[in-house]
């Protein structure tokens, strides 16, 4: 039994490439080449050199002493927040920009919700001197002005997505439409483990550096490469895919995926896709997604812009359905409280996405000897405005 992808591009019954024929040549070109390119020693060398010298990897695996004492268990934080650009997103964009260059593409497109993936993409495009176009929902542009400015400073063109609900899912639609219109010279850097095969697998492999490091870092600190639990938040699911990757088939390691419950799972304002979603097709992938009984995709809600995606990557749909991972839904309020607690107890301001993962300790009891690794996927600088409003700071 494997929880990884099969040779047809599916995780169990989820995944595949449900794309219009117009996209077939692009996606097929990528499918035929991505494993081959990634296996090249020169590719690996360049990828790892950039992760080390440009991103600042390895990111520390930090033993959170005071937090551990409070919850009476051993809590390690995987510090993706310390990466260049402030989150795990850059691991993937570095990998994909190198892939794009190998495939001879000179024009890069991307979608972004809160702007983190957009900034990470604009960054690597500046690094490589490639043209960069980022699609962003009109509503998100209005509420994420600093990230829009960052992207522009990095030389990217930010194009507002004016269709549908004018948020992340529509930005993704617009990026896909751009790719249909520019099938030859353009590479689409998807920001999460979503989209048609091979994207979920390719992005997971680039993010897998996270669990690879956890293994040897834990070996150094605890004399074992296996944590008892790995906890990560899930929107589309890229940081969770990275943190889980090397532990997928080792069932001694329990996996906990934390989704955003918003104002409550059944409040009508939630992004808890695994619980609220039904099997269907979104952005070219068969997975769980939030939709009407009629199959129209609905708009999720979370206080965290990085978690309000109406679907979830097919890997995670499979982890949910098979029971391999435990799925926990955390409300806005509980996430914010956990975020502030990390600030006060460890001196780390986390992204609100990551705060959802941290809230697991109020939700679930761990044993004193348990080693719990939490993916601290991003830093909270981008979320100051939300923290200020929420706590009246």
């Amino acid at each position: 039994m494997t929880y990884n992808i099969n040779n047809k591009g599916y995780y169990g019954e989820f995944g595949g490439a449900y794309i219009p024929e117009m996209l077939y040549p692009n996606v097929e070109e990528l499918r035929q080449n991505y494993l081959k390119v990634m296996a090249e020693p020169e590719f690996q060398e360049e990828f790892h050199a950039l992760l080390k010298d440009y991103v600042g990897r390895p990111s520390p695996l930090y033993f959170a002493k005071r937090l551990s004492a409070k919850y009476n268990t051993k809590i390690y934080l995987k510090r993706e927040d310390l990466n260049h650009t402030g989150a795990h997103k850059i691991n993937n964009t570095i990998g994909q920009i190198l892939m794009a260059k190998r495939l001879g593409k000179n024009r890069i497109i991307a979608e972004t919700g809160a702007g983190q993936h957009g900034v990470a993409t604009a960054t690597v495009c500046a690094l490589m001197g490639l043209e960069c176009i980022v699609y962003m929902g009109e509503i998100d542009i209005a509420r994420q002005a600093p990230n829009v400015a960052r992207m522009k400073m990095l030389g990217a063109t930010v194009v507002p997505a004016l269709s549908g609900s004018r948020t992340l899912k529509d930005a993704t639609n617009e990026a896909i439409r751009d790719w249909i219109n520019n099938p030859v010279d353009t590479h689409y850097i998807i920001g999460s483990v979503v989209g048609p095969h091979p994207y979920p697998d390719m992005v997971a492999r680039f993010q897998a550096i996270v669990s690879e490091e956890i293994q040897w870092q834990l070996q150094e600190k605890e004399g074992t490469s296996k944590p008892d639990y790995v906890v990560a938040c899930v929107g589309g699911g890229s940081n969770a895919a990275g943190a889980f990757y090397h532990f997928l088939d080792d069932t001694d390691v329990k996996l906990i995926a934390v989704e955003a419950a918003g104002k409550g799972v059944h409040s009508g304002e939630s992004a808890a896709t695994s619980i609220l979603g039904k099997e269907g097709i979104i952005h070219g992938s068969k997975t769980l997604l939030m939709q009407t009984p009629d199959g129209q995709i609905t708009e999720p809600y979370s206080i965290s812009a990085g978690l309000d995606y109406p679907g979830v990557g097919p890997m995670h749909a499979h982890l949910y359905k098979s029971g391999r991972a435990e799925f926990v839904a955390i409300t806005d309020d509980d996430a914010m409280t956990a975020g502030l607690e990390l600030c006060k107890m460890e001196g780390i301001i986390p992204a609100i996405e990551s705060s959802h993962a941290l809230a697991v300790f109020e939700h679930k009891k761990f044993k004193p000897e348990d080693i719990v690794v939490v993916s601290l996927s991003g830093r909270g600088d981008k979320d100051l405005e939300t923290y200020i409003q929420h706590f009246g700071l």
Partner: protein, 255 residues
């Protein structure tokens, strides 16, 4: 024999029109279909609106959003179509994205199509291999023709494969674009039309995307059996409503 196959045997060039069901008004569907047939249209694609139409440009996206807001659902559409065969005899095709059909149930959807007199389906995001493996027998059981797309980037080998599993016509996307993009064809497109024409495929081809007027219609049908107009017609409905469909069609057919 399926109405699509019968129509394709006729000698003339075919004009096929797309519109989004439930647009401009929820209950315009039957009226628009009857009107199009009365004005000499050969085939109709009824768009089942979807919240996230990946292959469509702004015009059809906007009409889909409005149609959904108007209350269009799969169930409502089938209800609107239940008496359509009392008055309409040309081929009717539903064009829609896969998720709404998946939620309705693919078998139930095909069965219902057969009941109300739908002849074929165009589902841009249902891949050929998934259709072949999982759904072909269901479509065939209910006599529903599934129409596949090819584009200028589709390889010859893949075109031959798509031709081998097609049972009606091949939908030739005129250029690398979403619907409603640039109008009119240059050398690149006509070379592509010629190339496909010379392949002498088993299935006739009908060209769509980028056709909006008499000139582009004539260019397309010089190399193919027919042509499909979508966005331009939806635009006409937006600005002129449903009363002047005859004017739109006449301008396409006559110089």
């Amino acid at each position: 024999m399926n109405r699509i196959n019968k129509k394709l045997q006729e000698d003339n060039k075919l004009l096929s029109i797309y519109f989004t069901a439930g647009y401009p008004k929820l209950n315009d569907t039957a009226k628009i279909i009857e009107n199009l047939e009365k004005n000499g249209v050969d085939m109709i694609e009824i768009g089942l609106p979807f919240s996230d139409p990946l292959a469509d440009g702004p015009t059809i996206q906007a009409s889909s959003t409005k149609a959904l807001k108007n209350g269009m659902t799969t169930e409502v559409l089938f209800d609107q179509l239940k008496d359509v065969r009392k008055t309409v005899s040309i081929p009717l095709i539903i064009m829609g994205y896969f998720n709404p059909m998946l939620q309705y149930g693919v078998e139930a959807f095909c069965k219902k199509c057969a009941e109300v007199g739908i002849d074929g389906l165009i589902i841009p995001d249902l891949p050929v291999d998934v259709y072949n493996e999982h759904y072909k027998s269901i479509f065939e059981k209910h006599g529903i023709i599934n129409v596949f797309l090819i584009t200028p980037q589709t390889s010859e080998e893949r075109i031959r494969f798509i031709d081998s599993i097609s049972k009606g016509f091949i939908y030739m996307v005129s250029s690398a674009s979403v619907t409603g993009s640039s109008s009119g064809f240059g050398d690149v497109q006509t070379d592509y039309f010629k190339r496909i024409h010379q392949m002498e495929l088993n299935n006739p081809q009908v060209i769509g995307f980028g056709i909006s007027d008499h000139k582009s219609f004539s260019q397309a049908t010089q190399y193919a059996k027919g042509a499909i107009i979508g966005s331009a017609f939806v635009k006409h409905l937006t600005t002129e409503g449903t009363d002047t469909i005859d004017r739109f069609i006449n301008k396409i057919v006559k110089p």
